[in-house]
Amino acid sequence: MSADHDILHPTLTFSHGIHPGEYKELTEHCRIERMPFVEEYILPLSQHLGAPNKPLVQVGSKVKRGQKIADPGGFVSVALHSPVDGTVKAIGLAENPGGQMVQSIFIKADSFSTQQLSPSVPKSYEDMDIREFISSVQDAGIVGLGGAAFPAHVKFSIPEGKTCRYIMLNGCECEPFLTSDHRTMVEFPDEVIDGTRILQHFLKAEKIFIGIEANKPDAVKILTEKAKTSGLPIEVVPLVVKYPQGAEKMMITAILGKEVPTGKLPVDVETLVTNVSSIAAISQWFRKGQPLIERVVTVTGTAIKRPANVLVPIGTSMRHVVEWCGGITSPSLGNTRILLGGPMMGMVQKSLDTPVVKGTSGILVLTSNEVKDLSQYNCIRCSRCLDACPMHLNPSLLGMLAKKGIWEEMEENHVLDCFECGCCSYVCPSGIPLVQSFRVGKSIIREQKAKQKDKKN
């Protein structure tokens, strides 16, 4: 756990992983700019992991910017707010970035509104008990902004009998191209520290780590300075630049030198990991009464005319965001892939009409400059995938089993521990779609398990 304060040459990391090209130079120096309001917003009712929202509005309802328009659908679910003053135009199916059609609220913006937030600041957090705090965070619609969109308040609810000795703020942003967390740390360090202060008020952790990959020395520097004067037990930890350093388990291993046991959560090693931007959102909620209605999105790729970090109201269609950044310069769209998220784990979009949601950390346009057509060969057992897998799986074996459809044996070889970072497919010299086949295998195994459970009941 020894701290390494050499920003440029940290030693803390996990074992295995890969070094893809970073491509961060496109946007890492671009100040966050505000996206102008557009005419229409699409707000899918399940932007987070967990139960979908229950709408509180009807077609024709007038809504205000920041007004809650849907309640959480359960404990593992968060509220949803309108990003604009406007009118509910429709409630119906729309395609979400994951490719499914989901119930969504369509809001037509009021073009004469000033779109000022009419803040309803919650009561001071210092007067709250932890239960009130947790439901307040749920009410603010805050989720993990790193990409998985896991409800933040669920993480903050430390189960009975468990302790939270360490809070880890995740500022790794190990996906190539993305810089939204980076810019948030550099431009809103006070919000990051303030959000930490609010969380620490309730969790009273022994130590707070802010893990940042060493390719963001400006963020390390400014947060180290701010941490010094904060009076909080914060240590900013520069980490080796390696993908997937920002994965929860990899960060815990890098900083604490411990592994999270299989099937367990970070809290089982007395740790809570949360994204830095989510923490800044906590501060905005408790100080300004602003729920999660906008987020920083990195719009990037060599085919984007003007790559930028944009503060986008949730629900804005990708088309508008891309147009705001000058559009796509690549003449043939056939080679182009448009992703939400980074190139390693992002989701490809079949059109530009899907909206930016809470988990959208980036809009990335890749062309044949970056995406190569791979010829596929047989596995030559070079073991590059074994040396890349941060979970120390045997992707070569799993790939062979997936090809033959031997799901049981895949499970015996721990495929369910795979978190789909894509390192195996990245390194495979034979171009075998390893992680892609594991996704299929995992969902089939989960389906079979669910069926067996049904039979038993």
Partner: protein, 340 residues
């Protein structure tokens, strides 16, 4: 942007490392260039001729097995498969295990067996259990025991064929120069004569094309490890095993047993260690498995060399451990993150 419908949909990741299977294969081929140069330096035109014929045998067989039937009943052959470079490596490695004066038709036949029996009947690239070049070599050793143990000495004849190079298939070959020598290992085995270590290191000895300059193989091995084409585990474990195991006997009786240095740089140990034991396809995939495999080869090499009926044991040692590899892969597992 009315062309939205033409966007390509696929799943992440979208970036890929520069290393592809053909790239890896050609890195190995490039690393062999100095070795081939040394073979020419010591054995002249005969060396290049043997290499060319074994490569030709391998490539021809690969093309032959690419035969696909068409709807009109005509068969077509594809040259695509040979572009990945793997058959080229097999051909070069087989050639390097053969004597400089070896009949060229036999070298070609060896290439046919290497690819045909060593690779294609298993299902092609990546599917074989045994190293294809060694399968070809084992066939040649069993079928033509005299030819494969007739050694032409290293000398300055750069532009002449050697020994039985131009023999006619299946007829008793005429040795064109009539000059033969013995290898350091057979001198050790049958005459109890230990060749100077300087000659071994720099390759000034009789032997197969790739049994000469030990130093070149050390350099090639370091190059391949540095470029991450092969991993250091197998060469290091294998050579250490040979040093320790043979060193024990040498210390007990240095007059009867050869020194570890002699063991390392005589025969095909260096060629086998750097290029055959490390064959990606036929060696275990897990780190622990690689250790078991490499130590196994080291033990077999010493056993066969010191007590076997043959002077050289590298080929059989590797083939034996190749046979054990599927089992090692099955039982030696990786330790997954989060498991005890």
């Amino acid at each position: 942007m009315s062309t939205d419908k033409k966007l390509t949909v696929s799943t992440s990741p979208f970036l890929h490392d520069k290393a592809t299977t053909p790239w890896i294969m050609y890195q190995v081929v490039y690393s062999l260039i100095p070795v081939i140069g040394a073979a020419y330096y010591f054995f002249g035109l005969g060396a290049l001729a043997v290499l060319s014929f074994s490569v030709a045998g391998c490539l021809a067989t690969e093309v032959l097995f690419s035969k696909t039937a068409q709807d009109n009943g005509k068969a077509t052959y594809s040259f695509d498969k040979i572009k990945d470079g793997s058959a080229l490596i097999t051909g070069l490695l087989l050639g390097l295990t053969l004597p400089p004066g070896f009949p060229l038709w036999m070298a070609f036949l060896g290439g046919v067996v290497s690819i045909g029996m060593g690779k294609m009947i298993w299902g092609g690239l990546g599917q074989n259990v045994f190293n294809p070049a060694l399968v070809g070599r084992a066939f040649l050793q069993a079928t033509f025991p005299t030819a494969i143990t007739t050694w032409s000495p290293p000398d300055g004849r750069y532009f002449e064929f050697r020994g039985n190079n131009i023999g006619i298939p299946f007829f008793k070959a005429e040795n064109v120069d009539g000059v033969t020598t013995a290898t350091p290992l057979s001198k050790m085995k049958f005459d109890h004569y230990f060749t100077d270590w300087q000659d071994l290191l720099f390759g000034n000895t009789g032997g197969s094309l790739g049994e000469t300059c030990g130093i070149l193989f050390v350099l090639a091995g370091i190059y391949l490890i540095a470029r991450k084409i092969i991993h250091w585990r197998i060469p290091v474990a294998l050579l250490l095993t040979v040093i320790v195991f043979s060193g024990i006997f040498w210390l007990i009786d240095p007059l009867r047993y050869p020194s570890p240095v002699f063991m390392l740089f005589s025969g095909g140990l260096m060629l086998g260690t750097v290029y055959m034991a490390t064959d990606l396809v036929t060696s275990p995939i897990t780190p622990k498995g690689a250790w078991i495999y490499a130590i196994g080869i080291g033990v077999f090499v010493v056993l066969i060399r010191l007590w076997g009926g043959l002077p050289e044991g590298v080929m059989y040692a590797i083939l034996l451990m190749n046979a054990a590899t599927p089992l090692i892969n099955k039982y030696v597992k990786v330790k997954t993150y989060g498991y005890k």
